[in-house]
């Protein structure tokens, strides 16, 4: 079993899980001596302030955290002394004549409610700071250990949400990983766990209710997954992988400066598939300069409204500004299939969502949504080399409709004298088999092709790979897939158009020579796969690839193709000095 999340701090963690319930329990009792209770509060606040100052000093001096984190705790001191917090608690003790701990809980609750109800996301995120302070003061007052749980060494903490103080305490206890329901990539937990090198996953819904203390779980930020109910064998594999992880990361970074050329000097573009702007960082670490597929769905998810043209424009522009590269391919909204966007579609109402209302079909029906996005992309393209990619195209008529809408956008942008790039490069995702039969048409209309092999194979074989009963039939060592790819590339080449592959096959080392042999010009994949593909690429020549491709195209059986490719792969692995470099990178995979 596994849940998906957003990776906020990279790494692999294996361990027993511990559910961490953050609510601060405290007794509630009436008091007679108001002055004494207020004094208790005052003294404690002074201690907490001192503690915070020490934390700040330790952060600024220390080498574990990089200094920016100190700002979090500086703001905490300001909140501590804030009249809305301090005076409110101080005065409230006199009014309700209850012990200070319970008063703190009440005031914290009131303040966080106000923040959460503001509807302002940034504000709502900051409630964690107020809760954190409440937690800190109460822990001090009750002389309880900041965290009641002990023996956390090597455990993975599961929580709805963690405050910065809690996280620092957990880190000092030696936790192995963190998984939270709330909090995104910019949250405190994200920033701190990255600095502390603790693997962390956020945005995993309902995980607290799902898991029990003591279960063995795995956090794998390569796959953005938290896994549980694992067999001993699977656990062993992850324990092994964890050991390899740090070594692997080092190796991967070491490939940064190598260029992606074959042994005989042909340059192949290697690019990243991204869904989040934050992933650019990882991409840069591996020396990748291009984005071959940017999925825009995340911009539309988890919200009630459609992001405005301005918001989208700023997002795409920021993305373009965030790296220096040759190109950034932005795919227009590809909702549907397995992707629900509450403001747009509901796949549960469809009998057959993968063959249903998805991709460009939705955009052509919801013209305003499409236009808003197109305009935003066109505008951002004035600032960096952005290219447009339309998903799920199946016919020439569909493309005619796209062109009409595109022209409308251009007209409207011109009318309002907005800066944009009319000459933006355009491509289609060839992922529906029928599109391959319109290659002459498309080659005259567009600038490049990208083959989406995941959907292409699913449609070619009529196999739903999420269906366990038949998923073993989903194999890309397949004659039909390679043959249709061959047709696509041959046609495109006739018109001098480049072809990219952006499906999972692009990161499969076994298939790499076949793709190069077919004449694929660029490969786009998850950033973490790029280093190994780059190294392998450097070990063979284009002629060797062509020969492999020709052999494969003449094979009928999947198993035959796979074993042939495995054999060649082992041969490449044994070549020259690469053998040491690479073997470690592949172990366990």
């Amino acid at each position: 079993m596994k849940f998906k999340g957003i990776p906020v701090s990279d790494g692999l963690a294996v361990g027993k899980c511990k559910i961490f319930l953050a609510d601060v329990d405290c007794e509630i009792y009436s008091i007679d001596n108001v002055i004494r209770e207020q004094r208790r509060f005052k003294t404690c606040v002074a201690k907490v302030k001192k503690e915070l100052l020490e934390t700040i000093e330790a952060i600024e001096k220390g080498d574990r955290l990089n200094g920016d984190e100190a700002n979090i705790f500086k703001a905490h001191i300001q909140i501590l002394e804030d009249p809305l917090f301090y005076n409110e608690i101080f005065n409230r003790i006199k009014i309700i004549k209850k012990n200070v701990e319970s008063v703190i809980n009440v005031v914290v609750k009131e303040l966080t409610d106000k923040f959460e109800k503001s509807g302002n996301e940034v504000l709502a995120e900051r409630t964690v700071d107020i809760k954190d302070l409440g937690y800190r003061i109460i822990s001090r007052l009750t002389h309880k250990q900041p965290l009641k749980i002990k023996d956390l060494d090597g455990t993975i903490i599961i929580a709805k949400e963690l405050t910065p103080t809690q996280l620092l305490h957990l880190a000092s206890e030696g936790v192995a990983g963190i998984c939270t329901e709330k909090g995104g990539i910019t949250s405190h937990v994200a920033i701190l766990s990255r600095s502390l090198d603790i693997p962390a996953l956020s945005g995993v819904k309902n995980i607290v209710e799902y898991l029990g203390d003591g279960e063995y779980i795995v956090i794998d930020t390569e796959e953005n997954e938290i896994l549980f109910n694992l067999s001993d064998k699977e656990l062993d594999k992850y324990v092994f992988l964890r050991r390899q992880y740090q070594k692997m990361i080092k190796k991967r970074r070491a490939t940064k400066k190598l260029s992606s050329v074959t042994k005989d000097g042909k340059k192949i573009n290697l690019a990243a598939n991204l869904s989040l702007i934050e992933e650019v960082q990882k991409m840069k670490e591996y020396g990748v300069n291009n984005v071959g597929l940017y999925r825009t769905e995340f911009l539309f998810m988890d919200r009630e409204d459609i992001p405005s043209e301005e918001e989208q424009f700023r997002h795409y522009k920021k993305l373009g500004d965030s790296f220096k590269g040759d190109y950034l391919v932005i795919r227009t909204l590809d909702a549907g299939g397995d992707k629900n966007i509450s403001s747009i579609n509901n796949i549960h109402e469809e009998n057959n969502p993968f063959l249903g209302w998805r991709g460009i079909r939705i955009c052509l029906d919801k013209k305003e949504v499409f236009k808003t996005q197109l305009k935003a992309i066109l505008r951002a393209a004035a600032f960096s080399n952005i290219m447009l990619l339309y998903p799920m195209i199946n016919s020439s008529e569909q493309y005619e409709k796209i062109m009409e809408i595109f022209d409308e956008c251009v007209f409207e942008l011109k009318k309002t004298k907005t800066v944009f790039n009319e000459e933006i490069k355009k491509g289609i995702l060839v992922e529906i088999p029928s599109a391959a039969y319109y290659m002459d048409y498309f080659s005259q209309k567009i600038d490049f092709f990208s083959i989406g092999t995941n959907d292409m194979l699913q449609f070619l074989l009529a196999v739903d790979r999420t269906n366990d009963k038949i998923s073993n039939m989903y194999s890309w060592y397949n004659k039909a897939l390679f043959s249709i790819m061959n047709e696509i590339v041959t046609k495109a080449t006739k018109y001098n158009k480049k072809v990219q592959v952006c499906g999972e096959i692009a990161s499969d080392p076994l298939c790499l020579p076949v793709l190069i042999g077919l004449g694929i010009h660029s490969l786009s994949m998850v950033p973490s796969a790029i280093p190994k593909i780059k190294l392998l690429l450097r070990s063979f020549s284009v002629d060797e690839c062509k020969e492999i491709t020709n052999t494969v195209l003449n094979m009928d059986r999947d198993t035959e193709i796979k074993s042939f490719l495995s054999g060649r792969f082992k041969e490449f692995m044994g070549r020259e000095e690469l053998i040491n470099e690479m073997s470690e990178m592949w172990e366990g995979k």
């Binding site: 703001a75 300001q78 009249p83």
Partner: protein
């Protein structure tokens, strides 16, 4: 008494960090310093009340300073932070 108006220029608006910077600046002066935005009045020495303005980019904001020996300086100090976009963009 000194009062001046301006528009928020930094993209993210007044979130925690800018609010924290405003408090730092306000604490250097005695007297009452207030920020007014969206019809809400905030105490410039209270980080929570400033954050509760939920003031975003483009929002018009008024800074007032009174009962202070150097009202002008107090208001100007805070205005400078806005002009500098809180060192963000």
């Amino acid at each position: 008494m000194k009062s001046l108006k301006l528009k928020i220029k930094n993209k993210l608006g007044i979130h925690a960090r800018p609010a924290s910077m405003i408090v730092d600046a306000a604490m250097k002066h005695s007297g009452n310093i207030k920020l007014i935005a969206n019809g809400i009045v905030a105490d410039a020495k209270s980080i929570l009340s400033i954050m509760m303005l939920a003031a975003e980019c483009g929002t018009e904001i008024e800074i007032t300073a009174e009962n202070n020996s150097d009202d002008d300086k107090a208001a100007d100090d805070i205005k400078n932070l806005f002009e500098r976009k809180f060192d963000e963009d």
